[in-house]
C-alpha cells in the first residue's frame, strides 16, 4: 500500500512537471525551480485527496488497465466518433429529419468503477447517444435513433471497454430494454 502511494505521487509529479514545461516553454534554471516549488505545493495539498477512496467498493482491486489496448481503444473510439458524427449530420440535414428517439436501459458486469466511467464517457462522446444515469450496474442511455444503439453501442463499445481490463471478457451487457414511447417510461 505504501509503495503504491509513493508511485502515485511520483507519477503525479512527473505529469505536473510535463504540464509546467509545456505551458511555460522556458528551460532556464529560474523557471524550472519556480515550477518545482509550485509542484511541491500542489502535491502536498493534494496528496490526501488523491489517496482518498471515493467509492465504497474497492476501486483498485489489483486490476490494471492494459496500456497498449488503451491506445488502440482511443484510436478506435475516434474513428467511431467520426463515423457516427456523419450519421448524425445526415439526420439533421435531411429535410424530414428521420429521428426516432429512444431510451435504452441495460446492465453491465464491468469489473469496477473506472471501467463504468470510461464506458459512460465513451457513450456520451459518441454522437447520437448520451448517458443519462449510471446506478450501480444499470445504465440509462438516451439515443437519437434506437437502431443506432442496437447495433453498435450495446455490444462493441462495452466489449471494447471490458477488453481494456480482461483479454477475454465474457458476456458484458445483459437485460437490454428499449423504451420508445412515454407510456413505457
Amino acid at each position: 500500500m505504501k509503495g503504491k502511494k509513493i508511485r502515485n505521487n511520483v507519477s503525479h509529479i512527473f505529469l505536473l512537471m510535463l504540464f509546467w514545461l509545456v505551458l511555460s516553454g522556458y528551460f532556464d534554471l529560474f523557471y524550472l525551480s519556480l515550477g518545482l516549488i509550485s509542484i511541491a505545493i500542489v502535491v502536498l495539498v493534494n496528496s490526501r485527496l488523491r489517496n482518498y477512496n471515493y467509492f465504497n467498493e474497492q476501486t483498485d482491486s489489483g486490476e490494471k488497465i492494459r496500456l497498449f489496448r488503451l491506445i488502440y481503444f482511443i484510436l478506435w473510439l475516434l474513428w467511431e466518433i467520426v463515423i457516427s458524427s456523419f450519421k448524425v449530420a445526415y439526420l439533421i440535414i435531411h429535410p424530414k429529419m428521420p429521428i426516432k428517439a429512444g431510451i435504452i436501459k441495460f446492465k453491465t458486469n464491468l469489473p469496477h468503477m473506472n471501467a463504468k466511467v470510461i464506458l459512460g464517457n465513451s457513450i456520451t462522446l459518441t454522437p447520437g447517444t448520451v448517458t443519462i444515469e449510471i446506478n450501480d450496474n444499470d445504465f440509462l442511455v438516451h439515443s437519437l435513433t434506437s437502431e443506432n444503439i442496437e447495433d453498435h453501442i450495446d455490444h462493441s463499445l462495452a466489449v471494447e471497454v471490458a477488453k481494456l481490463y480482461h483479454v477475454e471478457p465474457g458476456r458484458v451487457v445483459c437485460e437490454e430494454q428499449v423504451i420508445t414511447s412515454s407510456k413505457e417510461l
Binding site: F19, T124, V130, I132
Partner: protein
C-alpha cells in the same frame, strides 16, 4: 504551391467548421431538450477538436502546438461529463423525453 501542412490545416479546419454548423442547425431543428443536447454537445465536440487539431498541424511541434493538444485532451475529457450532467439533471428534474409520434411538450406549454 500549397505544402502538406497547409493542406492538412485547411482540411481539418473546414471539417471542424462544417460540424459546428451542423450542431447549430441541429439545435434549431431538433424537437426537445435531449435530442438538442445531442446536437449541441456532440457535433460541437468533434468540431472544436478538428479545428484545434488543424491549428496544431499548422503550429507543428512547438510549445503552442503542445498547448493546443492539451486543450484537445481537456475538451475530449470534460465535454462528455458536462453534457452527461445536463442530461441527468434534466431527467431528474422531470423533463420528459420526446418520442416519435408524440407532440412536442414545450409547444403545449406555450
Amino acid at each position: 504551391m500549397i505544402d502538406l501542412r497547409d493542406a492538412l490545416t485547411i482540411l481539418f479546419v473546414t471539417a471542424g467548421v462544417f460540424f459546428m454548423l451542423i450542431g447549430s442547425i441541429g439545435v434549431i431543428r431538433l424537437p426537445d431538450f435531449f435530442t438538442r443536447s445531442h446536437a449541441t454537445s456532440k457535433s460541437d465536440t468533434l468540431g472544436i477538436m478538428l479545428i484545434l487539431s488543424g491549428f496544431a498541424f499548422y503550429e507543428g511541434l512547438t510549445t503552442t502546438g503542445l498547448k493546443l493538444i492539451v486543450i484537445i485532451i481537456f475538451i475530449a475529457l470534460s465535454n462528455p461529463v458536462g453534457s452527461h450532467a445536463l442530461a441527468r439533471a434534466a431527467y431528474f428534474y422531470g423533463i420528459k423525453p420526446w418520442f416519435k409520434g408524440e407532440p412536442r411538450t414545450h409547444e403545449e406549454v406555450e
